[in-house]
């Protein structure tokens, strides 16, 4: 056994103690954190500089939709 084996075993055993429902919470929580970050972006970062296109040009809406689908997927599968 090399030192790398000991390090690897330590992490493997630590990760084994986390139950799968807890892992699912982590997966979903990370997606929700991403969703919050997207929603907190300034409007200017997500719309065309000339303000054209109305609400359909607001990238925050479409980015949030993409992440929301992920939240649903990782909540049920």
């Amino acid at each position: 056994m090399t030192p790398l084996h000991h390090i690897g075993d330590f992490f493997r055993n630590a990760l084994l103690t986390i139950p799968l429902p807890g892992v699912r919470v982590i997966f979903v929580a990370l997606q929700l954190a991403l969703l919050l970050w997207v929603l907190s972006l300034p409007r200017s970062a997500a719309t065309p500089p000339d303000g054209s296109g109305g609400w359909t040009s607001n990238l925050k809406i479409w980015a949030s939709l993409a992440v929301l689908v992920q939240v649903v997927v990782y909540s049920i599968l």
Partner: protein, 552 residues
């Protein structure tokens, strides 16, 4: 393909291939400079780039391979398209892509030189070029092998026919990429994306319909899983070999359907345990791919505006939500229908042959070819961009005119096609020697270190060129060492155990290499002289930058 193709199927194929070629050649008439060739004159609309991103990411071998992996391990392989793409695409859309677009660079290594130094640019360009050049040959060979099985044409002896498919694909993709550069690649990818999604969706709808809905499909999967589990338990008990696996198998809840689960335990025998997926894929390989892969990022550098560059990634992320459904679900359907297939990679083709009527089989084959061509053309164009801009123009002829860059780019494209055909032939002769698996792991060797220097460079003002170079080279060396220590011939010779206990632990290589690189970049940077403020002005991210719209 087990079912024979009819005249209508071949007609669909010919129409698709002819249309693609004609579009590529038409776009080639508008190309006059290097900027037109490598960045499509910075004129690409967001929706075209978004579809191209999705098409390029899914290769022909992925359609077959993901279907095969889903047949063996279930929907967990879908993680590569969901958590392995979407979060990184969204972060990339708002942080990295606008930043690169604004800097007006042609390549990511070029950005690295502006931020760090020429050594970092050369090292990264060399790694990408090596990977892309080898991958071109491998994609051609793997696809030719699959076409041998799918097309059902037996005009030549097997090896000659494989060679014929290699040359035919290379010539077809080569002609339109040579003529139209990035514009041809991206616009043909758009058609390829539609054909690919349409063809594969058809298989999913007909497959589920054939079972009478999702409920009966799940029941069939549960039943087949139980049968496989019982057979494996009997096998292990007879051999008295693996107590750990036996214990796990006996403790499985009979109501659980592993084939529909995305999150698999640490001790799963599949290559997709959750730490590898969450940390290795979601936090290292995926950001490295979507922020730093030249073949991917290049098309957004050709966007018509900074907003279009951002929108293309968001649109791509929305489309990505659909991909596991069209390429992984067919594998699960095949598992429900044919649980005893000897080769999992035949799952998708067998399903197509059994489910689709004449004419629609041709559409699926067009989808397969679309996926294959969209990846080959992207790597071909990006490899030519790196050779021309990061080596020829940077080190041999810095004062070259933009018109001359176009000529050089086209010559390099031809040379790369010839190289790819030659390398594909070499790989075909060495089949079974493990060379294919080694090259599949190649990207994992340098993706972690590449991400470490990219993140430090963009997000941390104090990162220095020397720190980045030391971190990158050491990270790659560490990754290769981990790979070697996991090879049976090596660990047996030095009398140790394999470092990783799962099959194909490439997700873990990337995590460790990333951490080693990151640590070294930080330590060495703090020990070396900071880069002057005027050198890194506009190259390090801060939140105020999100409000700036500009470009070259």
């Amino acid at each position: 393909m087990p079912g024979k193709l009819a005249g209508l199927d071949y007609l669909v194929l010919v129409v698709y291939l002819g249309g693609t070629l004609a579009l590529g050649l038409y776009l080639g008439r508008r190309i006059h400079t290097g900027k037109d060739y490598f960045l499509a004159g910075r004129s690409l609309p967001w929706w075209v780039i978004g579809m191209s991103l999705v098409a390029s990411d899914i290769g022909g071998t992925d359609i077959i391979g993901v279907g095969g992996a889903a047949y063996s391990f279930g929907m967990a392989v879908g993680n590569f398209e969901w958590i392995g793409c979407i979060p990184a695409m969204i972060i990339g859309a708002f942080v990295f892509i606008p930043f690169f677009w604004r800097s007006g660079v042609y390549t990511i290594p070029e950005f690295m030189e502006r931020r760090y130094n020429a050594a970092v640019r050369a090292a990264l360009a060399l790694c990408w070029l090596g990977f892309m050049a080898c991958n071109l040959g491998i994609m051609l060979f793997a696809s030719a092998k699959m076409m041998n099985g799918l097309l059902g044409i037996d005009l030549l002896e097997a090896q000659s026919q494989t060679l014929a498919y290699i040359v035919l694909t290379a010539a077809l993709v080569g002609v339109y990429t040579y003529a139209g550069g990035l514009a041809a690649v991206v616009y043909t990818d758009t058609i390829q994306c539609v054909v690919m999604i349409g063809g594969c969706l058809l298989v999913v709808v007909m497959g589920i319909n054939d079972f009478g809905g999702i409920g009966p499909l799940r029941d069939a999967v549960r039943k087949n899983e139980a049968r496989h589990r019982e057979a494996r338990i009997a096998e292990l008990e007879a051999a008295q070999s693996d107590d750990a696996e036996l214990k796990i198998l006996k403790s499985v809840d009979p109501e659980r359907i592993e084939h529909t689960e995305l999150i698999l335990p640490v001790d799963t025998r599949s290559p997709f345990p959750w730490p590898g997926i969450l940390i290795g894929l979601g936090m290292v390989l995926s950001p490295a791919y979507w922020f730093g892969n030249q073949a991917i990022v290049q098309r957004s550098l050709g966007a018509e505006s900074e907003f279009a560059a951002k929108a293309s990634y968001v649109w791509g992320a929305l489309l990505k939500n659909l991909i596991p459904i069209i390429i992984a679900v067919p594998g699960v359907i095949a598992f429900a229908r044919y649980p005893e297939l000897q080769d999992a990679d035949t799952a998708f083709p067998v399903l197509v042959a059994e489910l689709l009527p004449m004419g629609l089989r041709g559409l699926f084959l067009a989808a397969f070819l679309a996926a294959l061509m969209s990846s080959v053309d992207s790597y071909l164009n990006s490899a030519a961009t790196i050779v021309t801009n990061d080596f020829y123009k940077r080190f041999f002829n810095p004062d070259v005119s933009d018109e001359r860059v176009l000529s050089v780019g086209r010559v390099v494209t031809v040379l790369l096609i010839i190289w790819a055909v030659g390398f594909a032939v070499v790989v075909s002769r060495m089949e079974g020697s493990g060379i294919y698996a080694i090259f599949q792991t190649l990207m994992a060797f340098f993706q972690g270190p590449a991400l470490a220097i990219l993140l430090c460079g963009v997000l941390w003002k104090r990162a220095t060129g020397i720190g980045a170079f030391v971190g990158f080279v050491s990270g790659v060396a560490f990754s290769v060492t981990l790979f070697a220590l996991n090879q049976e011939s090596v660990y047996s010779a030095i009398g140790t155990q394999p470092l990783f206990q799962i099959a194909e632990p490439f997700l873990y290589f990337s995590v460790w290499a990333f951490l080693v690189s990151l640590t070294l970049v930080v330590v060495v940077s703090l020990c070396t002289k900071p880069e002057p403020d005027e050198k890194i002005a506009g190259l390090v991210y801060h939140r105020k930058m999100q409000n700036v719209e500009g470009g070259d």
